[in-house]
Symmetry: C2
Subunit: 213 residues, 2 copies
């Protein structure tokens, strides 16, 4: 029987993902990957193939390990509009403070990069958008059932709105946007989706967002 790998491919891919996430895949060289992972070029190419396949794998890992769990939590949250508000609060906090501050979102960042034309990458981009929108839609449906939402709201359109808003937050956070501004922008949208003007004015569903500022 042959030799086995002297490293953990899963841990290596995790480091590659973080490297591409923080710096951007386009401007990160294989030499950087070698240094960050401690692997040799041979092991890297034998395990992951070339850079394009490595980028696709790292992007797929980001969707599975980073995005999807949050999307699933949102879709499973039974609170309605507060669930969406909570999602954005955590998003802004993660994008503007802590370990990954100003890293943005790897999927969002990839939209403008060179690898966006690769089929494997494009597929992840579209899947990310579909899953984000579906999670938003699910939360909006719950909100509608709880009577939190204004009559006549198009849940599909509103879900698309919130997805686009999340991309905007991700994008601007990478340029060092003020978290207060981002949260204010989120609050204005959710207030617009809420049941009536007076209700949201006296007791807004997004009170927690305001408190975060």
């Amino acid at each position: 029987m042959p030799d086995v790998k002297h490293f953990d491919p899963d841990a290596a891919l995790e480091q590659v993902m973080r490297l591409f996430w923080e710096r951007g895949a386009d401007v990160t060289g294989i030499a950087d990957v070698v240094q960050a992972t401690g692997l040799s070029r041979s092991s890297l190419y034998a395990t992951f193939g070339g850079k394009e396949r490595l980028q696709a794998a790292a992007l797929g890992r980001y969707l599975e390990r980073r995005s999807r769990p949050v999307f699933d939590a949102l879709a499973a949250d039974r609170r309605g509009l507060p669930a969406i508000a909570s999602f954005f609060e955590q998003l802004v906090a993660a994008r503007c403070t802590g370990e990954h501050a100003r890293w943005g979102c790897l999927v969002t960042n990839t939209h403008t990069g060179a690898g966006r034309e690769l089929p494997e990458v494009r597929q992840v981009l579209d899947a990310h958008h579909a899953e984000l929108r579906a999670a938003m839609r699910a939360a909006l449906t719950v909100a509608a059932g709880l009577g939190q939402v204004r009559p006549g709201l198009d849940a599909d359109a509103a879900a698309e709105t919130l997805a686009l808003l999340a991309y905007g937050v991700n994008l601007r956070s990478r340029a060092g946007a003020d978290p207060g501004d981002l949260l204010a922008g989120v609050r204005a949208v959710l207030d617009g989706f809420a049941r009536t003007v007076t209700e949201t004015a006296t007791e807004p569903v997004t009170d927690t967002v305001t408190e975060e500022r």
Copy 2:
């Protein structure tokens, strides 16, 4: 007296801007710039300096020639919410069809690129955001004066929302998003900002957006 330039620097910068816009500055080499402009490396460096300064110049030109005129038109538009709806209709159309389809927005694209840390570039990014938000705010103020907007709407927050939404549209359009989805997302926001639920349901301010689909 010395020799004069054998080319038009303004026209050359225009071509560079379009090149960076379509392909991305990071993945566009000086060789590509030389080929696209027809200039020699000597003339290029003598006129614009290195690549970083060239990128900053191209980005500044984009803001001045592409973004600002549209922002100014929005800020000067006295229609209120229809002015904002019209802005987004033109945006989606420009991003998804015609000459610059799937190019996105150069400023939006630059948010995720390598040059985003350069002071000159960062300055343009922030200026772009400030001007976009100010234009949105101006249109919202007009809308409030015309009684088109729901009571209690925070114009600053709503302006931030619309700016973030525009970034989302720009980003997703570069990945080939469906223009109908984008317009639906825009419509949902504007309906939420409009005066009352019943009014926007029977006669939405964003009717023209709906018709575009």
